[in-house]
Each structure stands twice: as structure tokens, then as C-alpha cells.
């Protein structure tokens, strides 16, 4: 029941009918981590979508290409979903995920189960893909913004 309640409060599952939520919840697993535990590693196969039940998760890159430690990218807390790259080729996690509170409980949704469910219930698939497009598209836009800002500063510096 907990899994279904959490799903119900998490986008993009919050608009789904009860029977759909119940079916998705059946494939979900409740897992617990302790402070500092790595939930998944940057570059590993992205096999699951994750939802925070309680506690906090820190998302960060391990190392940049030139070996410089990277700053943390985001904190995820209750009812937030992460790991959307499981739907985006090449299906690898782009960041590492760590438990950042004394403990955290997460719902693990296996990607393959979700995709099978999406095929059977395309309205669920559409909702999930719409949300994924927003998540990935927003990251893409942020990268474009950052590059434009850097390039713009260089150009204006020459004026």
C-alpha cells in the first residue's frame, strides 16, 4: 500500500487510475540505504527508475573527464523520481546516486517491467514518455544555456 501511495504522489504517476497504480506498484520494490551507500554508479547500465519514499539522495558525477572532482548536481527528496536515463539511449546512468541522509528508503521500478506495462497501457506509456522528454529536454536546454552563456561572455569580452 505504501508503494502505491508514494506512486500516487509522484509525477508522472499521480494522474493514473487506481488499478494502473496498483499494477505498477506490484512490480516495484522497496529498498533501504544508509548514509553514504551508493545506489547506482555513473556509467552503469540504467536498469531502474527510482522514487524517494523518505530521506535524501545526492546525485553527482564521480569525476570529470580531466580527473577533477565534480560538484554535486542535485538532491532528491520524498516523492521525487530520478534515473530517467533508463529510457534514453545508451541507457546508462549519467550521474552517481548516494544516500545523503541517515537512511533513505526508495522505490525501485525495473525499467523492463515498466516498458512492458507501457506497451499494455499506452496512456501510462505516454505519460511516462512525456515526463521523460521534459526531464531530458530540460537538461539539454540547460546545457545549451550554459554553452551560450560561456560563448557570449567570450564574445563580449573581446568587444
Amino acid at each position: 500500500m505504501l508503494k502505491q501511495e508514494i506512486l500516487e504522489s509522484t509525477a508522472p504517476f499521480n494522474d493514473l487510475a487506481d488499478e494502473r497504480l496498483a499494477a505498477i506498484a506490484e512490480t516495484a520494490e522497496l529498498v533501504e540505504f544508509r548514509n553514504g551507500d551508493r545506489i547506482f554508479a555513473h556509467g552503469a547500465d540504467a536498469t531502474d527508475l527510482w522514487i524517494v519514499v523518505d530521506g535524501e539522495v545526492r546525485l553527482c558525477a564521480e569525476l570529470s573527464e580531466n580527473g577533477t572532482p565534480m560538484e554535486q548536481m542535485a538532491f532528491m527528496s520524498a516523492a521525487q523520481a530520478f534515473g530517467w536515463t533508463c529510457f534514453v539511449p545508451p541507457y546508462k546512468y549519467q550521474l552517481s546516486g548516494y544516500c545523503a541522509s541517515r537512511r533513505c528508503r526508495l522505490i525501485r521500478l525495473p525499467k523492463d517491467d515498466l516498458l512492458r506495462f507501457c506497451e499494455k497501457a499506452p496512456e501510462v506509456g505516454f505519460a511516462i514518455m512525456q515526463y521523460t522528454l521534459c526531464a531530458v529536454g530540460t537538461q539539454f536546454q540547460e546545457l545549451q544555456d550554459e554553452l551560450a552563456k560561456q560563448r557570449g561572455h567570450e564574445i563580449m569580452h573581446r568587444w
Binding site: 529510457f87 506509456g125 512525456q130 522528454l133 529536454g137 539539454f140 545549451q144 551560450a148 564574445i155
Partner: protein, 255 residues
Amino acid sequence: MPEQPKEILQQTEAFQQLTDPELAPILEFSELRSFTNGHRLFQDGGSAANLWVLYEGTVDLRFELPGGRETSDEQTISTLGENQIFGWSSMIPPYKYKLSAYCISKQCQVLVIEAGKLMEYFRAHPDIGYRVLSGMIRVVGKRFRQLQASAGQAGFTGARVTVHMGTCGIAAGAREVMKALSEEVAGSIRQNIRVTTGGCLGYCRSEPNVTVRLQDQEPVIYQHMDENKMRRVFAEHVIGGKVQDDLLLQGGQSC
């Protein structure tokens, strides 16, 4: 070159899986438009009402500078080639274009799709929406990775890449080579990569041929190119500066 909106969508990755009856309603809120060199298709910050498919020509996505100054390719973040979708902001809140789009070829032909009506159609037919959005995510994810990769590269100099598209080149697969090149250029933030088409070099048996000329260097001709070789030459030579010796034109067998 496709002339009908249906053919254009059929050649566009995200819509390729749809059947004719599934494509038909989308055509009702799509229209063909033509732009000439230097024309701005849309401006950053403007309301993103449309999704765009480029089917002929080349489009630069550029950021604008303060004071309404004229843009140049220094401000180019991505260059798009044929069969590519752009204007993703029309599918993502807050539905504002993040960059401006400029026609940089002699002419650009585009299919303009009303994004609001497209999403309405998907909501009414979620099975179609699921398939198209899955395809779009693959395309966006690929371009995102390419942009990340090219942003991390250093030491680039300007380049001109010519795909030789005489009749013999096209028969040997030059169109597919051009498509792969366009995709790579689209995902790159590098400035001054210019893609051009050329005629037969006179080495028909070695087609498709591609000529790469980096700034201040002698041109290099590659032979028997295909999509994978083109992607490799783009990454290793155009971006990385390393000539791919095993793909170079050998001796040149004439027609």
C-alpha cells in the same frame, strides 16, 4: 527530395513508425514553409508554438547578443541538416524557444507542426503518442550526448566537409553519408564546420567520396564511405584532427 508533408514525416526518425492513417491527422495541422539565407525562423525567448522538421537546407541554432546585434556563426550552438527535428521547446514547459533558428543555406524548406494540436492528438491517441515520444526521446538523448561530447573537446579549428554527390556517388550511398554527417554536425557545438556537396571527383569506383579540409591544412579525400565511417571521420578527423589513414583514397580509380 520529398515534396509532400507525409513523405517528410515518414523520413523523420520520431514519426517513422506511424502508418499512413496515423500520420494523416498530423498533416492537417502541419504546413510547408520556405526560408532564404539569413532569415530567422524563430527567435529565442519567443512563444514556442511549433515543432519544426527541416527537410532541405541547413539551419543554425544560435543565441542572441544584447542590443539586437546581428548574429554570426560565432553564436551557433548547433547546426541542423536534413530530416532533423528542432524546436523541442514547444514540447517542454514553459514553451519558450531557448535559441534562435537561422537559415544558413541558400534556401531552407521546413515542415511546421502546431505543437499544441500535436499533443492534443497524442492525448486522444496515447498509443501513437507513446511511440512518437519514445522516438523523440531517442533523438533528444542522442543530440544531448553529442553536445556534451563536443563541449568537452578542445583545440578545434574550422573545417569544411564536402560529400561528393554526383550520380555515381548517390548510387553508391552518398545520401546516407550526408545524412550521417548532418546528424553529427547537428549534435556538435563546434563553430565553422561547413558542410557542402560536390560533384564527381572522377574516381567513381571509390565512391562515396568525402573531402575534409581543416583550416590551414591540405584537403584529404576519403573513399568508400558509409554512415559509420562518416561518423568516425567526423569524430576523429573533423573534431579530433586525426586523419584516418585506412580510409584515404588509394590511387584513385577513375570512372
